[in-house]
Amino acid sequence: MVPLSWYLVLAAFVFSCGLYGALVRRNAIAVLMGIELMLNGVNINLVAFWRYGDIIDKATQQVVRLDGQIFALFVIAVAAAEAAVGLALIISIYRNRKTVSLDQMDLLKG
């Protein structure tokens, strides 16, 4: 059996990669991808905790609780919605300014 910690390390790694992308990429779409990575990292965490948690009913040996999985499922759904909205916003600013470079978006500051 794979130790839980392996999954957690992988999750942390994917999450950190995503965060790095969100922090340093100039391109807004690349940042969006970074955010997707972060969410995937979280999902690995959630599913792993679910799998290694107390989910088996001792008497029937059936899986009785699915909350971690359900949470992960919702996160996937939310990520889809977020990506759609994010792309809509990015395309709208691209039409206005012909750029998706984030460091050029500084009309509002100070």
Binding site: P3, L8, S16, I91
Partner: protein, 137 residues
């Protein structure tokens, strides 16, 4: 040395699950790195699709088959398509002359190392508690 051995006890022979997990995790991790490191936006998107597949594999390994299918259906088919579509739509921006990353990479890594550290803390305590309980079960 005691501590390290205590925290990272290397099992002598990987079980079958572990043998599947290790390459899968490596693939996912490398793809994730490519997503953020490759300068070509198109490669980024491809690597993202790769990561998502890898994560779906992890779900399958964790016996969450339904979730793995959802991952492939929702992410790989819809989000990736959406992103690729957006890249196509704004093709011009793929070939900008400037650097693909901004100047804060160094600081960001410092910060993220610490976030990784949180993950590590997480792992340590979870290990001490959960691994034991699983071993008992």
């Amino acid at each position: 040395m005691d501590i390290i051995q205590q925290l990272f006890p290397l099992p002598p022979i990987p079980t079958l699950q572990q043998a599947v997990f290790i390459p899968l995790a490596l693939f996912t991790a490398v793809c994730a790195l490519l997503v953020v490191l490759s300068p070509n936006l198109f490669h980024n998107a491809l690597a993202l699709v790769g990561t998502l597949f890898g994560v779906a594999g992890i779900y399958a390994l964790l016996e969450a088959e339904f979730l793995a299918i959802s991952q492939i259906l929702v992410y790989v088919w819809s989000i990736s398509t959406l992103i690729t579509f957006a890249i196509m739509l704004s093709r011009g921006m793929m070939f900008g002359a400037t650097s693909k990353t901004n100047k804060q990479a160094g600081t960001a890594i410092d910060g993220i190392v610490v976030i990784g550290f949180i993950g590590w803390c997480n792992f340590v305590s979870a290990r001490s508690k959960l691994d034991v309980s699983i071993a008992v079960a």
